[in-house]
Amino acid sequence: MTSHFFNLAVFWRVRLLLLQGAVGTAKLAFVALAIALSIGIVVFAAQLGPWRPLRWAAEWFIDLMRAFPVLVFLVLTYYLFLPLLQVRIDPFAAAAVAFGLKHGAYFAEIYRSAWLAVERGQIQAAASLGLRSWRIAQLVVIPQAALVILPPLFNQIAFLVRDMPFAFVIGYFELLTSARAAEVLVRNSTPLVAAILIYILALLLLQWLGGRIEEFSRRRLEA
């Protein structure tokens, strides 16, 4: 039983393959995160702006992204949207764009809730002192919003990492792809168990870090 699910010798044989997959996952996670954070800012800015159609479009963008299953959106991006736009790209770029768009919508919502958490009166007070809107953002909103934003931001990063295995559906070489390849190679489930353990470890780490950050920001907010 253990020899099929937790076989150290087998694990040692496939270690490089798994490592390659883990590196692929990490690379994708970082690029997707960077795209998602930026798209979140763009969508959030559109929601703040005075132009009504743009606000409406941002709200629908967020709802559509929330509605699409990750797997479906990934497949549609790779096989449909990008070919329609006459862009020919590899699975890595397609996955990064798809995860970036999908999670960007969630990040926009997180930015917005932090913005709403800053008291309106403070912004009005700063405006009546004659501060420009950029200075208001810099001096009043961002220092306070940053504390509110950290815990949900971290939570969302964990969700993003948890979505990574879906990239195997469009043939990107990440941890799950490598684990399945290794499983076929050695006719043993250890690689798959190892992949699951690696994900659990990474996400527990993120969860722990998130907990610490939440504690930190709660202390700072109370002070």
């Binding site: 699409f68 295995p165 527990l204």
Partner: protein, 199 residues
């Protein structure tokens, strides 16, 4: 479409009662039950749903348990959904003050009565947005079926795309998911707004 709906409905009914029980056990149960349950929920939440399904489908046969693709998906999504539901319910239960329990007990009500008449009506209100968004997740997760060769909505469309190069079914599948899920998302949005106003 039919397989997708079937999976979603089955998962919903199989997962909701254990999810509620776990949440209740973590709130009301003795420590030796609540602590390990909490640790387990935290651990399971860390596993990507896709990996759970793939593990059940590809690794369990080595242990002599061979399930059909459909059963693997159902088992995997149900297992994860129990945890997601239990988290939604736990958050809602936590929002009902401890004094409510004490007061109800002091009135001489039995635990089941306390739950039914005092706690759950209040918790249900708070649980609504989280519950709706875990429903969204449930329907979305059925798409995992395509990854292990069940012909659900997206799986069928993908097959046609790769075999015939015809993207029309993909478009249809995309629209199909939107038709299923967009109403849920709009509902979540409205409930979230209402909660924000009530607080």
């Amino acid at each position: 479409m039919f397989v997708t709906l079937q999976l979603a409905t089955l998962t919903f009914f199989l997962a909701i009662v254990p999810g509620l029980l776990i949440a209740l056990a973590r709130r009301l149960g003795p420590r030796w039950l609540a602590l390990p349950l909490g640790a387990m929920v935290n651990l399971v939440r860390c596993v990507p749903t896709l990996l759970t399904v793939v593990f059940i489908y590809l690794a369990l046969p080595f242990a002599g348990i061979t399930l059909s693709a459909f059963a693997s998906v159902l088992l995997g999504t149900t297992f994860m959904q129990v945890v997601f539901f239990s988290e939604a319910f736990r958050g809602a239960l936590a929002s009902v003050g401890k004094g409510q329990f004490d007061a109800a007990y002091a009135c001489g009500l039995r635990t089941t009565t306390v739950l039914r008449r005092v706690i759950l009506p209040q918790a249900a209100l708070v649980a609504a947005p989280a519950f709706a968004s875990s429903l969204v997740l449930l329907v979305q997760n059925t798409s995992i079926a395509s990854a292990v060769a069940v012909n659900d909505m997206i799986g069928t469309a993908l097959n046609i795309q790769t075999n015939y190069g015809d993207p029309a079914p993909l478009v249809a599948a995309g629209i199909g998911y939107l038709v299923l899920i967009v109403p849920l998302v709009r509902l979540t949005r409205r409930w979230e707004r209402r909660m924000a106003m009530a607080l």
